[in-house]
């Protein structure tokens, strides 16, 4: 077996490039990168490999590079070792060693969501692949373009319960947009090209590519097809003009419209079109958790997030609307609550790149199938053609009244007015204020995530990155790491909880190794807060397995990893601690102590309508 490291290295001198080399030449850059630059011919055009004889493993690298991959997040193991050998000869691509494969899949996902480019992760067969699965499922639920490459046991051992064998193809079926088990070495470039194409076009999603070890080892001629040929796959473009006309007609007769925007807005880069549409029409806009950032949170036309933890006035507006234009949103149960009580007075327009979403949950009166950005441009053009101008002042007056009556709980520095207790809402506001508009924020899952969604002043598309559909605890830190690799000069925050952070805290090593100055804000209430809240409200205060008083010392833990840590217990220290952390070029873990009994309000109990919403009277007034 020539896959033992070093066994093959005698053949030719190979500079040690497995250690991290900074991505961009900058203050952090050093001679190693320069040496690598010198070694690689000036012409890095991947096309120069065309027709060359090489191993399947090298084909993987060349194909990834041809697709423009900058970073691969991964973890080696037996069945993927040939590819890891070839990684040492990569020209333009860097491999980032993580500490758990789940971290790799979230890093690729985070990077993909923040950039719109395909994120790539890699793992070995069996446990490596199964560890990726949670991250892949996360990408699938939130339609994020990720390509996951896994090693598989050699072809002749497939189906024999071989060491570290798992049926990755079978596992991939319910959680990927598409998946491949590569059987021939020569197919690798085509499969990778198709995988990228499928992942990033239309409604994006993850694609898994499983490559048996012998397929990696065998040699063949490298041929990267110029175009993909997928007769069973089509990419939506513009919508049928008749459908666009129908939408504009509906808007023309509506006096109480709401634009309800989902993750498709960020995915299709529709932010600027949405802005133009809102400014042009003056209609209110609400976003889902995934749609945050598609429109500035605190713009006067923004109603913030809707649904289970949406403001009372936002859900009231949905309830009273006579027209709801769903744009790249999928009527998730966390948005609709009880479906037959959702927006009963409204006609429903549904614009989506995936026609399977039309009328899946709510019967749509008008549908348009196409790329959201293009369809909204069509709508705008149509509005211009008709010189349509409508007055929504009566509608806005109602909304303003509801807003005055039931705003989101007011932000105070101190929790429940008690001195010494930091309000979690205040921390969110300060994080947003100090990090600035350019910041990208990731979250984990739970109470902190909802506070962030309610209050974080996100203004730019692709800058609020969170696991919505799957609700994956442990997403935030690795996602922030993946993002920081690409955006070295933008502040990257991870808002987390004392429960979530421990689900992938090992990735602090990755952040420290690569000097990623991310800020991790832990909202420490010494509990699994959201579950605790549900037990308080819906299970008669029978608290079961939510106590986290045995948390480790997060500051010492951060320091043990080589990161900075700080314990913040006083509301007066919040701003200063954030400023200090933002100034560092190493990761900082801020532990904010918050009250154990803080709840997220308002809340609509699962499966109920907005009439059953629970607000906190103390906080609302």
């Amino acid at each position: 077996m020539k896959t033992v490291p070093g066994a093959k290295a005698g053949g030719k001198a190979r500079p040690k490039r497995s250690a991290p080399a900074p991505a961009a030449a900058g203050p952090g850059s050093n001679g190693r990168m320069a040496a690598a630059e010198a070694r690689v011919p000036a012409n890095k055009d991947p096309a120069r490999h065309e027709g060359k004889e090489m191993s399947g493993a090298e084909m993987v690298i060349r194909a990834l590079e041809a697709e423009g991959t900058e970073f691969v997040f991964g973890y080696p193991g037996g069945a993927i070792m040939p590819v890891y050998d070839s990684i040492l000869d990569a020209d333009t691509m860097r491999h980032i060693l993580v500490r758990h494969e789940q971290g790799a899949s979230h890093m690729a996902d985070g990077l993909a969501r923040a950039t719109g480019e395909v994120g790539v992760c890699m793992a070995t067969s069996g446990p490596g692949a199964t560890n990726l699965i949670t991250g892949i499922a996360t990408s699938y639920m939130d339609s994020s373009p990720v390509v996951a490459i896994t090693g598989q046991v050699p072809s002749h051992l497939i189906g024999t319960d071989a060491f570290q064998e798992a049926d990755v193809f079978g596992l991939s079926l319910p959680i990927t947009k598409h998946s491949y088990l590569v059987r021939r070495t020569e197919d690798i470039p085509r499969v990778i090209k198709e995988a990228f194409y499928i992942a990033k076009t239309g409604r994006p999603g993850p694609v898994m590519v499983d490559i048996p070890k012998d397929v990696q080892q065998r040699k063949g001629a490298f041929h990267m097809p110029r175009e993909v040929r997928l007769p069973g796959y089509s990419v939506p473009g513009k919508a049928d003009p008749k459908d666009v006309e129908a939408i504009v007609n509906a808007l023309q007769v509506s006096s109480r419209p709401v634009l309800y925007v989902g993750g498709g807005a960020n995915a299709s880069g529709a932010g600027d079109v949405i802005r133009r549409l809102i400014l042009r029409t003056g209609i209110p806009i609400t976003t889902t958790l995934l749609g945050l950032g598609a429109f500035p949170r605190y713009h006067e036309k923004s109603l913030g997030m809707l649904g289970m933890h949406g403001a009372m006035y936002t859900n009231r507006a949905m309830d009273e609307a006579d027209l709801i234009i769903a744009a790249g949103a999928r009527f998730d149960d966390r948005v609709t609550g009880k479906v037959d009580q959702f927006a009963r007075k409204a006609k429903i327009v549904h614009i989506d790149a995936d026609s399977a979403e039309h009328s899946k949950i709510i019967r749509a009166d008008y549908t348009a199938h196409g790329d959201l950005r293009l369809v909204l441009e069509q709508v705008l053009d149509c509005l211009e053609d008709r010189k349509m101008k409508k007055d929504y002042s009566a509608w806005w007056a109602s909304i303003e009244e509801w807003k005055k009556d039931r705003p989101l709980p007011y932000v105070k520095k101190e929790s429940r007015g008690e001195p010494g207790n930091i309000s979690p809402r205040y921390i969110i506001e300060e994080l947003g204020r100090l990090a600035g508009e350019d910041a990208i924020v990731t979250t984990d899952v739970g109470q902190h995530q909802m506070w962030a969604a309610q209050y974080y002043p996100v203004t730019k598309p692709r800058s609020f990155i969170t696991s919505g559909g799957l609700g994956t605890m442990g997403f935030g830190l690795p996602a922030a790491i993946g993002i920081k690799f690409k955006f070295r000069d933008r502040p990257v925050l991870c808002i987390s909880g004392d429960g979530s952070i421990q689900m992938n805290i090992q990735e602090l090593t990755t952040a420290v190794t690569h000097k990623l100055g991310i800020v991790v804000a832990i909202f420490d209430n010494q509990a699994l807060g959201m579950v605790r809240q549900w037990q308080e409200l819906f299970h008669g205060k029978r608290f079961s397995s939510v106590d986290l008083q045995d948390n480790p010392d997060f500051v010492k833990l951060a320091e043990a990893y080589g990161a900075a840590g700080r314990d913040v217990a006083d509301p007066e220290d919040v701003s200063e601690s954030i400023e200090e952390a933002l100034g560092r070029d190493v990761p900082t873990l801020l532990r904010f102590r918050i009250r154990n009994d803080e709840n997220v309000f308002p809340i609509i109990p699962a499966g109920r309508g907005m009439a059953d919403a629970i607000g906190d009277k103390d906080e609302c007034k």
Binding site: F169, L173, P174, P231, D354
Partner: protein, 173 residues
């Protein structure tokens, strides 16, 4: 719940049937019958399924099938007049003196004798479900030992084609 016949034109990539079966399993809809075989064009398969589900589930399944990268075309055949067939092999016990009577029964239903044993006859009948059921019922008094039914296959009646793409591609090739 109504029974719907869906025909799909797919690639012959390994695992296509697994993807399709899994989709039914996940999105609801009970698969009653499956038939997968090579299509007219090399490299393509035609997979016909019969499924019991409500209209809403059917619409969702149809769209989700269309989304599968390996599925090129999806046609709900039973929405229009169509011809449906299945092949059935049935082994009947032959008691002394009844052989010609049973053979006659087969002729009546248009069944072929596929094989004769010392004390059995194996019939082969190709027909729609109603006729097959009637044949089996007619054989019941003689002693039906085994029945194997194939998956159903279907095409539109008249001149209309189920798969438009297949025709277009073969015409241009």
């Amino acid at each position: 719940m109504q029974v719907t016949t869906i025909a799909m034109l797919t690639t012959n990539e390994p695992g296509v049937l697994a993807r399709i079966a899994h989709l039914f399993c996940r999105r609801g809809g009970n698969l009653l019958s499956v038939c997968a075989e090579k299509a007219r064009i090399f490299d393509q398969y035609c997979i016909t399924v019969a499924v019991a589900c409500d209209d809403r589930t059917l619409e969702q399944i149809r769209k989700q099938l269309t989304k599968l990268v390996d599925v090129e075309e999806v046609t709900v055949v039973s929405q229009k007049p169509y011809v449906e067939r299945q092949v059935v092999l049935v082994k009947v016990q032959v008691r002394p003196g009844l052989r010609s009577e049973i053979t006659e029964e087969g002729k009546l239903f248009g069944a072929q004798v596929a094989d004769m044993g010392a004390s059995t006859i194996t019939f082969e009948i190709t027909s729609d479900e109603t006729r097959v059921d009637a044949f089996l019922k007619a054989l019941e008094p003689y002693g039906v030992l085994e029945v194997v039914r194939s998956g159903k296959i279907a095409l539109y009646k008249g001149d209309e084609l189920c798969f438009k793409k297949e025709f277009a591609e073969s015409a241009s090739a």
